[in-house]
Amino acid sequence: MPREIALGDALVPGLLVFFVLALLLLWLLDGIAGRLGLYRLVWHPPLFRLAVFVCVFGAFALFMF
């Protein structure tokens, strides 16, 4: 199951790379949402943030298969 990605000929667990990328994307989305005040429309912002992260990470993981 673990697929690996070659970074400069060193094999790196793909899941870890996508995890870091997903975190970066979340950071970006989070900043935009905070700037526009979108979190005011949500009941439990951290839970919402987690849900968004799961979506992003899940979507990234599709690249592996």
Binding site: P13, L16, D30, A33, G34, Y39
Partner: protein, 708 residues
């Protein structure tokens, strides 16, 4: 005042019970959250087949904190530190794969530099440095016999540490979060209400020096706390991040306004002491409209905006009354003092208006994007103290490494690792020897309990659920102790020792001999860290560092007099506040050290600000070339005097300022410079200030009369 009345009232029994229960609930909430994070991390790490789930689990213990914003902030910096450490480890292994001496030397240096960097920061950035050192050690040391394994080792450690950080961050963010944002909001509101209230209450007349010093301390704490909170909250709350610049601006304006306010009151106090009541009273009368304008309820939501138009009209009233009040004074000295005070007052009201404006824009529900001026909060760091920490940690690592090489001790790596963690973690606290000792005791008891748990309980059970049941009670005990004041470090040692020594993995190994050997190595590592703190005592909290910080604080006047002007105001204020708060945190309140510090801080603040304003005015208008040398001379001698205070320097500075005042008087159209110079001169001649020690024995009253 109403505040004292509240404190005197005895709280009823019900209130006490509720308070106690709330405290207990907080403690148990912390324990439950940490346990959830611990076991969830372990389960995930085992599911993902990571080689050392115990590393991930140990990480959750290290980041455990009551405030969720803290956990996120910590986690963010720790993640950065982890990545940097792993990169360094790969570089070091790649550079010296065959040379163990050079390898250990490079690793020790890296760890030392990280420990030194950790002492430079008072927020969670210091964790990034600690983790940078620690991760390099845990990646590189196990593969010392097998250099090609460094990639696998580093990826495994990064995955484990990141997993631990992620899970504990999530658990703390989602399960009953206790929000730092609320603390920040309360701090900002208290700062605002406190300052506005103080200004309003003191319009009546002079304030005693004592009250002034206390108020100054309170303002310093408020400013630095707000900055520390801000730097953590931005990780917790995206909206707070969007407002981060506004908050900074708010804080900077607060510092500026409080400095001007203090200068104003020092001026009034001095006039009163010199029996110049007429001038002082006229100033107080001029200042009365401000008090009336601020006399509005400030607890309500949109309060700050309500104050703005009132302040503007008060400023207009004040400006209109200046000529009338000025005309009522007949003595030329009184008029000059009044002019100085009036310009100071105008400055203060402008700054107060800016401060209230910043508060109002913070309170608006919508984020006004990009409208805030960019400002920085500069820190007053001491690089020699950091150098000391670097030296100490490197030395410890080298000694341990040499011992490891010459004794061929199989578990030397284990000892080195633990020494790395604690040398870094405790380099930033004031009394590391005692703390390390406590942690060591806790660590020992944790490991003893771990022995019981591993060999008597875990051997009997099967499956992850039962493992949780067996492990949780022992760990919970340590976590509860972490939350008590007295046993906090003992509990930390307990929880870490316990979590480490169990070294849970997918296929658990039960080997008592290895267990005991490892435990001995751990104690040796901790002992080495403790001894290193005795041999090279940390700079933090020592008289030596305090003297250096005091010298740095005085040097701020030189900065004000000579540094390039753009951004200088903010830089001066924030470094001042940071330095004062550092020294205050490290001294006993009310001790001689603390009092002399505050006395110096007041003098530096007042003179420095006046010099900066003077230089701004000099840069703005044309200063006649015949006048400029005198002004420059005054600036230079003042800077030298504050850098190295002595009686001779004092006389030079005093005379230089007097000459500058006299020569300003001889030129046309530069009268606006006079006010700042007067302020500096009066601060120099204040018999109650810290500068009194350098004055020649002359009659104080006469001197002040001369000055004005």
């Amino acid at each position: 005042m109403s505040a004292t009345g509240l404190q005197n009232a005895t709280p009823d029994t019900r209130q006490i019970v509720v308070e106690t229960l709330r405290e207990e609930v907080n403690v148990w909430l912390f324990v439950v959250k940490t346990l959830i994070a611990f076991f969830l991390t372990g389960w995930l790490a085992m599911r993902l087949d990571l080689p050392a789930p115990s590393t991930a689990m140990l990480t959750t213990v290290i980041v455990a904190n009551r405030q969720s914003g803290m956990v996120l902030a910590k986690s963010f910096y720790r993640a950065i530190g982890t990545l940097a450490g792993a990169t360094a480890a790969i570089a070091i292994v790649a550079a010296f794969p065959q040379e163990r001496d050079l390898f250990l030397l490079a690793l020790s240096l890296w760890i030392g530099v990280c420990a030194g960097g950790a002492t430079l920061y008072r927020n969670f950035k210091s964790y990034a440095f600690v983790l940078g050192g620690y991760t390099a050690a845990i990646v590189a040391i196990p593969v010392i016999d097998n250099p090609p394994g460094v990639f696998d080792s580093s990826w495994a450690r990064i995955s484990e540490v990141l997993l631990g950080l992620m899970v504990s961050g999530l658990v703390n963010d989602i399960v009953f979060p206790s929000r730092m944002r609320d603390v920040l909001r309360r701090a900002a509101r208290e700062q605002f209400a406190g300052f506005v209230g103080f200004v309003r209450d003191s319009t009546g007349g002079s304030i005693a020096r004592d009250t002034m010093e206390k108020a100054h301390l309170r303002f310093v704490r408020a400013a630095v706390t707000l900055e520390d909170l801000r730097s953590s909250v931005i990780f917790e709350d995206a909206e707070a991040r969007a407002r981060s610049n506004h908050l900074r601006l708010f804080n900077q304006r607060f510092m500026a306004a409080s400095t001007s306010f203090q200068s104003l009151h020092h001026l009034i106090n001095r006039l009163k002491r010199a029996q110049r009541d007429l001038a002082a009273d006229t100033l107080i009368r001029l200042y009365a409209p401000i008090g009336e304008a601020l006399d509005a309820p400030i607890e309500a939501g949109a309060a700050a905006r309500v104050l703005l138009p009132r302040l503007v009209s008060a400023r207009d009233t004040m400006r209109a009354s200046v000529p009338g009040l000025r005309a009522s004074l007949s003595d030329s000295q009184d008029v000059r003092d009044f002019d100085t005070g009036a310009s100071l007052l105008t400055r203060f009201v402008d700054e107060l208006h800016g401060y209230v404006d910043a508060a109002a824009s913070l309170q608006t529900p919508r984020v006004i994007a990009g409208s805030a001026e960019r400002v920085r909060f500069d820190r007053g760091n001491d690089f020699l103290g950091a150098g000391l920490a670097t030296f100490r940690t490197t030395l410890t690592m080298l000694v341990l490494g040499a011992f490891w090489i010459y004794s061929a001790w199989p578990l030397g790596s284990s000892a080195m690792l633990l020494a790395t963690v604690f040398a870094g973690l405790f380099a930033t606290i004031p009394n590391p020897t005692r703390v390390t000792w406590q942690v060591m005791l806790g660590y020992l008891s944790g490991m003893a309990v771990g022995f019981i748990c591993e060999f008597l309980l875990l051997t009997q059970v099967d499956g992850y659920g039962l493992l949780v049941v067996c492990v949780a009670p022992f760990l919970a005990l340590g976590l509860v102790m972490m939350m008590t004041q007295r046993l906090a470090f003992y509990g930390l040692g307990w929880a870490m020792g316990f979590a480490y020594i169990l070294s849970l993995k997918n296929v658990q190994v039960y080997d008592p001999a290895h267990f005991i050997n490892d435990a001995i190595a751990q104690v040796v590592g901790l002992g080495a860290a403790a001894v290193s703190f005795v041999v090279i005592p940390p700079a933090i909290g020592s008289a030596w560092l305090r003297r250096r910080q005091l010298a740095r604080l005085r040097g701020q006047v030189a900065l004000a007099a000579e540094a390039p002007l753009p951004g200088l105001r903010h830089r001066f204020e924030s470094v001042n506040y940071d330095l004062v708060s550092q020294v205050v945190a490290q001294t006993q309140p009310g001790s001689a050290d603390s009092r002399s510090l505050i006395a110096w801080a007041l003098a530096v603040h007042e003179t420095g600000r006046a010099l900066i304003e003077l230089r701004h005015d000099m840069a703005r208008g044309d200063v006649p070339p015949t006048l400029r040398p005198y002004l420059d001379d005054a600036l230079r001698t003042l800077a030298r005097f504050y850098e190295k205070p002595d009686a001779a320097g004092y006389l030079l500075a005093r005379d230089a300022v007097a000459t500058a005042i006299a020569s300003v008087g001889e030129h046309e159209g530069v009268a606006h410079l006079l006010e700042h110079l007067h302020l500096v001169r009066m601060a120099l001649l204040d018999g109650e200030s810290v500068l009194a020690a350098y004055m020649p024995d002359a009659s104080l009253t006469k001197d002040i009369a001369h000055a004005s």
